[in-house]
């Protein structure tokens, strides 16, 4: 075995020095290394550099397992050698910390970190840990309470919104269930009550409300449902092309009055006919002109409520001129909703 300083030491020399430092040599080999570094200043310097490098490698965790274990046996067990390790560790930590962008924060937190390191000041560490735990628990509890109240408030708001929306829908539903337009209630006084099915008497058109006794009976059930159809042309069944408003026939209604505003009032007579969509005309009625030709006019026709089923109908207004020629003036689509099924007679005779 020889160590020379005449030329640059190779890997073999370095390894031998490392083995010397880790006390991995026999006593005779060790003595030879010592003898040579006593005689050779350069080799001695090389040995010091190798030791410094070895300590750095250990601090940075770069030693292989076997070397690391040997290093710990030799260096960490000896207070003096251990101080070398600590000195290098501090230096490397400082170099690393100065390079890091969080260096300032790390330096500020260093005393706290040291205080919390086990085995140094145990009591202080426990107190700090307990404080930290307490603060964390307080923070977590506060956050949970805050979140709970926030969620509760949100729930209340959502519930209020839902109730409001539900009320709105209820109102709309109620409005839809009302006859549109509002049915005209016709009150009729009957001098005497009429027995149902009595012959020769005048059969009331409305249903009798319960009465406390004999005498005047007020009929409050709507008898006639009036429905005004907007002015349209021949091609468009509705005024604005949208779906027609439903013609709602309430329970108990007897007559349906349809009013059509005429586009032009210059014909002597008009004919209003009614048919199902895609079906033949099942009802028609001639209506004479009532007002002068220049004045606007309406055509009103009364139809039995039982004539309608809950479906679509097309109502057509036809004019007849003096020569007898007919001209279609308007067409109207009617969406009938009949709540009076007993009156609905699909097969009702056509009074044509």
């Amino acid at each position: 075995m020889s160590l020379t300083s005449d030329h640059a030491p190779g890997t073999g020399d370095e390894r031998l020095l490392v083995r010397y430092l880790l006390e991995d040599l026999s006593e005779s080999e060790r003595g030879r290394v010592e003898q040579q570094y006593f005689a050779d200043d350069t080799l001695y310097t090389k040995l010091l550099v190798t030791e410094d490098d070895l300590i750095d490698s250990y601090v940075q965790g770069e030693l292989v397992r076997e070397d690391r274990e040997r290093f710990e046996r030799v260096y960490l067990a000896d207070p003096r050698l251990n101080r070398k390790v600590e000195a290098n560790r501090e230096l490397l930590e400082m170099v690393g910390a100065r390079r890091s962008p969080f260096a300032a924060w790390r330096r500020r937190l260093l005393p706290l970190k040291r205080a919390l390191t086990p085995g140094r000041n145990t009591r202080l560490a426990y107190v700090c840990a307990a404080l930290l735990l307490f603060v964390t628990l307080c923070g977590a509890s506060g956050w949970l309470l805050f979140e709970r109240s926030r969620l509760r408030a949100e729930g209340e708001q959502a519930r209020a919104r839902w109730l409001e929306t539900e009320g709105e829908y209820q109102r709309r539903l109620a409005a839809l269930q009302q006859p549109t337009p509002a049915p005209v209630a016709v009150a009729r006084e009957t001098p005497e009550p009429v027995e149902p099915g009595a012959r020769g008497g005048e059969k009331p058109l409305g249903r009798a409300a319960p009465s406390a006794g004999r005498g005047v009976e007020r009929v409050t059930t709507p008898l006639v449902v009036a429905f005004a159809l907007p002015r349209t042309g021949v091609r468009a069944p509705t005024a604005d092309g949208s779906a027609p408003r439903p013609l709602v026939i309430p329970r108990g209604a007897v007559l349906v009055r349809l009013t059509v505003e005429l586009v032009a009032n210059e014909y002597p007579a008009y004919t209003v006919s009614l048919r199902k969509v895609g079906g033949p005309v099942f009802w028609s009625q001639a209506v004479p002109r009532k007002s002068p030709p220049s004045a606007p006019d309406r055509v009103a026709i009364d139809l039995p409520a039982g004539l309608f089923q809950s479906q679509y109908y097309i109502m057509q207004v036809t004019a007849t001129d003096a020569s007898g020629e007919e001209e279609i003036l308007s067409r109207h689509q009617i969406s009938a909703v009949n709540h009076n099924p007993t009156n609905a007679r699909p097969g009702a005779p056509t009074p044509r």
């Binding site: 010592e34 005689a39 200043d41 410094d52 207070p79 003096r80 230096l91 260093l110 085995g119």
Partner: protein, 210 residues
Amino acid sequence: MRLVIKSDESRFDDSTAEPSEPPSEPLSGAGGPWGPFDGDGPSVVERFRALQSKLIFYFERRHCFDPEELADETLERVMRKLCEGTEVLDLTHYSYGVARNVFYEYLRKEKAKHKYSDEQRRRPEAAAGDDEEAETRERRLRCLEGCMARLKERERWLMFEYYKYKGQRKVLHKQKLAEHLNISREALTLRIFHLKRRLKTCIEDCLGND
């Protein structure tokens, strides 16, 4: 009496040898009152310090409790011999022989079967107490920061660059750094080593003055 230190390596092969006096054989050697410390080259002080450093390192590697004291003891014995007119051809070799004897005497005195006693194994910091240890460490760090600040800008840069990476990347980076500085890798390592020594000396001074 004239002292001769053979350079024969086999003399140190016997690890179990009892401590002995340095062998004495008549030999013509260096003249002058300080023997090998005289002559051209590095000054006496430098050579003396170099030898002292080696002796301290030797006793340190032998896990002695107070290497400085044993190194002083060795040097004292060497000086005594030189003052007595003993001619020594190879002072370092001779000093090594004396150091070995001092070490064996130390072992005998301490009656240590192992490298060092359990008492010595105990870390002085631990005995000093946790608070004191933490305070010392804090002071060391403050000193280290001050000493780092005292380095030249280029030296600090070199230090940071040298320790920039770890593992395989570190090796490549050091190679590049050496090429950048136009020096060999060994020279770079040596430069860093000297920088760190300066820092350590600075820290010791700082702790002493604190």
